[in-house]
């Protein structure tokens, strides 16, 4: 029999249903794998007892025929989701040992459907970062290794960010799937870096209630899994209207899994010329061309489209996201929960608490956000950035109105890099990672990243599909076709255990 951790989520589901495997066995196998993978630093908090208790209950439910769609499947939860009774940190010192008395809607939806939690996954502090190096709990290390001049070198590779714990844990088979969040690319970029599948759903598809906010108008929850089918299965449980989140949309959740294997014949795929950036690596350009060819082979029609405001997206994003973040993070003030540093007076307490509690990247973004919202700068920065945002959305609206069903682009401008290799002297170098993904958040559209090949140095490369609002099914159908066509990329042997 296959090692349980080597099953995909859908295979594990079927095995539990067929009673050839118990949830307890499946869960224990993952707990063991996690215990062996300390070197990857994927988990901030492990919850093995909780997981085994839940597994036992799942086995009982399966036995009496009362199984939910995700019954007994062990998952990892990004530590940005509040979990009742389990410490939630956002990978920041400022939350200290904050333990919520409530469960986020999305994780509650997963538990409703029978899934169970293995623990809380590492991330960039408050989801701000593209390499998982800003976590107060140390960086996550990717299970991937790159080829150097003398064969595989032992440089530690970043898993992407901010959902680096999610992507690395899924890639290393420490969980069947993981929740993640995406504000500017935080699901798709880590998925791309680790050879996993990441879906950022349409803004409003998943509830934001109970997920620590970074930039409210851009944040969206989604899954990271090892296959397109697994992502479809997870998203169906995560999505849905929530009256507690005014921005969540009251629309029925389709059976996304049913879209896997659907024909893509006649689908019109837009290829935006503006994404062919000057200096785009030939490797990425070739991958993109290959993706186009695969879809063409599957019967899709390829059209060149124009998204003329693309180049303004990244600067506008780095105004809007910090602006919202500066306000969203004001509640971490040492008054009611989390870290409190003693001060001479209230202002001194605020300053000392926030200086100690927030890391450098968070402090930088809070300061940028405060600056762009301040009197005299608001119109020049925030208002203009919002105008650009409208134009970016309009670009996509026009493309879709022109009959395009989805857009195909590279997911990232480069493969993963080594820890400490980027952004230490110039943060913008790190921000450039999001160049292909931020437009999707700015326009509120669904986006999916999936592995499509390996780079010259042996690291995963990924394509991105962008869809019409609330047409995630189209993305799953197209992604499944690409997955079918693309070569299977193989993770190096488990060097970490």
């Amino acid at each position: 029999m296959t090692e349980p951790t080597h099953l995909t989520l859908s295979q594990a589901r079927d095995a539990l249903k067929a009673r050839t495997l118990s949830s307890t066995e499946l869960t224990q196998a993952h707990i063991d794998a996690i215990d062996r993978a300390g070197a990857l630093n994927c988990f901030i908090t492990k919850t093995p007892e909780l997981a085994l208790d839940c597994a036992k209950e799942s086995d009982a439910r399966i036995a009496r025929g009362a199984a939910g769609p995700l019954e007994g499947l062990p998952l990892g939860i990004k530590d940005l989701y509040c979990t009742k009774g389990v410490r939630t940190t956002a990978a920041s010192r400022i939350l200290d040992d904050f333990t919520p008395t409530y469960e986020s809607t999305v994780s509650a939806n997963l538990w409703r459907d029978g899934a169970l939690m293995l623990g809380k996954l590492n991330l960039d502090e408050f989801a701000m970062g593209s390499s998982n190096e800003t976590s107060a709990f140390g960086p996550v290390v990717s299970p991937w290794r790159r080829k150097g001049a003398n064969g595989i070198d032992d440089a530690k590779i970043v898993p992407g960010g901010s959902s680096g714990g999610s992507s690395a844990a899924v890639a290393a088979h420490l969980c069947l799937g993981a929740t993640a969040t995406d504000t500017g690319g935080s699901i798709r970029q880590p998925a791309a870096f680790t050879g996993t599948v990441g879906v950022k759903p349409t803004y409003g598809r998943c509830s934001r209630w109970g997920v620590v906010a970074f930039a409210s108008s851009l944040d969206q929850a989604g899954p990271i899994t090892r296959t397109v089918r697994d992502a479809a299965i997870m998203l169906r449980s995560m999505a849905g209207h929530d009256p507690k989140d005014t921005t969540s949309v009251d629309a029925p959740v389709p059976d996304y899994e049913a879209a896997i294997g659907a024909s893509v014949k006649g689908r019109r795929i837009g290829v935006p010329k503006e994404y062919r950036l000057e200096g785009l690596s030939p490797e990425i350009a070739a991958l993109w061309d290959q993706g186009v060819a695969w879809l063409k082979d599957a019967g899709a029609e390829i059209v060149e489209i124009s998204l003329p405001h693309t180049r303004h997206a990244l600067p506008a994003y780095y105004i809007i996201a910090p602006a919202e973040a500066s306000s969203n993070l004001a509640r971490y003030d040492g008054v009611r929960y989390g870290l409190r540093e003693k001060g001479r007076d209230i202002t001194d307490m605020y300053e000392k608490t926030r200086a100690k509690g927030f890391g450098a990247e968070v402090r930088r973004r809070v300061m940028i956000g405060t600056y762009v919202l301040s009197a005299g700068y608001y119109d020049a920065y925030y208002v203009r950035a919002q105008k650009i945002r409208s134009l970016i959305k309009r670009d996509f609206d026009l493309a879709f109105a022109g009959g395009v069903d989805a857009v195909l682009t590279p997911a990232t401008p480069s493969p993963a890099f080594a820890l400490g290799e980027k952004g230490s002297s110039d943060p913008v170098e790190m921000y450039l990672n999001d160049v292909f993904t931020v437009t999707v958040n700015m326009a509120g559209l669904p986006g999916l990243a999936l592995p499509a090949g390996l780079s010259g140095n042996g690291l995963p490369l990924a394509l991105q599909l962008i869809g019409r609002p609330f047409e995630e099914e189209t993305l799953f159908a197209l992604a499944a076709a690409l997955e079918q066509a693309a070569p299977k990329i193989k993770l190096p042997a488990a060097w970490w255990s």
């Binding site: 989701y81 939630t88 919520p100 108008s217 989140d245 005014t246 921005t247 919202e324 008054v335």
Partner: protein, 490 residues
């Protein structure tokens, strides 16, 4: 609207007359069961932090959801202020740090308020009405309360009020005296209470005023204003304006300039003092709250709320004048409280003469209630009982003097006034025979006084008094008068 104050309202300074210009921001707590964006109770009181949800405490990941009842209350109030209702408005975040502000921002409406321009007609005195323009009304969250007295070294925070819905009603700078300002707040409170959108209770902080005061020479442009924060009674509003205007005039007459600043009124010392200068003012970094969609509704929603609005004080006052022939002043007094107006109309329905009923309420009953610290709702006498008393006065069954005795009896031993009058023999004697006998008795017993009265007709009053005394006050004074005149031949 009077652009400039009447000369009588000007303040005399050492170097001439000054005009005071006043505008106000009223914070009115919305009457609703729950807070503006959370399901927690909006009730006053309770132990500290009893009425706090995880949304109010700004726990990580919490999101606001608008309470539709608060929206309806704001729209009703806007309609009551004859104001423009904006079918689309936007909630903004006003960012600042304070321990009693858990989110680190207040959700308010900055550029696009739910209600636009309107106006309030204000009765300054029985003979003077002014119009005060309303600039806007917007919805916002109240803050919590910092408690400093529980410990010598630490402060505590009570979040019961955190997130409670407030309506901020901003007036135009249309008031020209403390008296006008007091009358404006009083009228606004009346309107809010009629609509039921705010209980207007200033002691509990349900209604608070920020008062903007500036002074200028008549005819000159507006002077620099100071804002007096959080004044919590109508009397203090008047006092604060008086002392602040005097302070500014003294500075200007000394050749100084007014610094734009926020000030506090200290009722104990009778002075205002600086809280913070313009330079120290916060940069609130307003921006649209991304957690909330713009607030949108259609005209049909507004129309439905308008249809359900009660008759408002101005309309009621006009109707009382028209329908019951009341003097405008009396009508104005009666409509000040909806309960009083309803009480008055209950008396009419019961058969009381409107003018007599108004007269009786304003001159007798309201005074009696005031003396005991009671209101029309908590007073012991029903509208029907007061109506009976008024009807007996009108029909000459009892005299005005007896009526005053009667109300004292009914006040302490509630009962049917007609039965009491009957049982205690308080009816006015209109039987001429009985009165005539009393008159005859007084005349025959006082021949010397009769002689005096013939020489000096004002002596008649003495005779009336004597007759009233012998009849126990029940004789109809007019009949007594007429009979005496006839019998004495004067």
């Amino acid at each position: 609207m009077t652009e400039h104050a009447a000369p009588s309202k000007l303040i005399k300074g050492a170097t001439g007359d000054w005009e005071v210009v006043i505008g106000m921001e009223i914070h009115a707590q919305v009457t609703s069961r729950a807070k503006l964006f959370s399901g927690a109770s909006a009730e006053f009181g309770g132990e500290p932090n009893d009425h706090v949800s995880i949304v109010d405490a700004a726990m990580p990941g919490m999101l606001p959801v608008i309470n539709e009842e608060c929206v309806a209350q704001a729209v009703r109030t806007g309609l009551g202020l004859e104001a423009k209702i904006n079918l689309r408005s936007v909630f903004d975040r006003k960012n600042y740090f304070y321990p009693d502000l858990p989110q680190g921002y207040q959700i308010s409406q900055y550029k696009h308020p739910i209600v636009g321009e309107g106006e309030v007609i204000v009765d300054v005195s029985p003979t003077e009405r002014i119009k005060v323009g309303v600039e806007r009304l917007h919805l916002e969250q109240d803050a919590g309360k910092s408690l400093h007295e529980l410990s010598a070294t630490e402060s505590h925070v009570d979040l019961n009020r955190s997130g409670v819905a407030l309506m901020e009603i901003v007036s135009k700078p249309d008031m020209r005296s403390a008296e006008e300002a007091r009358a404006y707040v009083s009228k606004l409170r009346t309107i809010l209470r009629y609509i039921g959108s705010c209980d207007g209770n200033m002691e509990q902080g349900s209604l608070r005023a920020d008062v903007n005061v500036s002074v200028r020479r008549p005819g000159e442009p507006l002077g620099t204003r100071c804002e007096i924060k959080n004044v919590n009674s109508i009397r203090f509003i008047g006092q604060a304006i008086e002392v602040e205007a005097r302070r500014q005039i003294a500075i200007l007459e000394d050749g100084g300039v007014i610094a734009q600043e926020t000030r506090l009124f200290d009722p104990g010392k009778g002075e205002t003092r600086s809280l913070r200068s313009k330079e120290e003012a916060h940069d609130y970094r307003y921006f649209p709250d991304p957690d909330l969609l713009p607030l949108e509704f259609d005209q049909a929603y507004v129309d439905a709320l308008a249809r359900e609005l009660p008759e408002l004080p101005d309309a009621k006052r006009a109707r009382f004048i028209e329908q019951y022939g009341l003097p405008p002043y009396d009508a104005g007094v009666l409509v000040m409280e909806r309960a009083s107006a309803d009480y008055f109309e209950d008396m009419i329905k019961d058969g009381a003469n409107p003018k007599a009923a108004a007269n009786w309420l304003i001159n007798e009953y309201f005074g009696r209630l005031n003396k005991e610290g009671l209101t029309i709702n908590t007073g012991p006498i029903s509208a029907q009982a007061n109506s009976s008393i008024v009807q007996m006065i009108t029909s000459n069954e009892i005299s005005g003097k007896i009526a005053k005795d009667l109300i004292e009896i009914v006040w302490s031993q509630p009962g049917d006034p007609r039965e009491i009058v009957e049982a205690r023999g308080m009816k006015q004697v209109t039987d001429t025979g009985e009165i005539e006998a009393a008159v005859d008795a007084v005349i025959s017993a006082n021949p010397d006084k009769v002689a005096q009265a013939l020489a000096k007709p004002t002596m008649l009053g003495w005779f009336v008094g004597q007759v009233m005394k012998t009849t126990g006050g029940k004789a109809n004074p007019q009949t007594v008068n007429e009979l005496l005149k006839k019998k004495l031949g004067i």
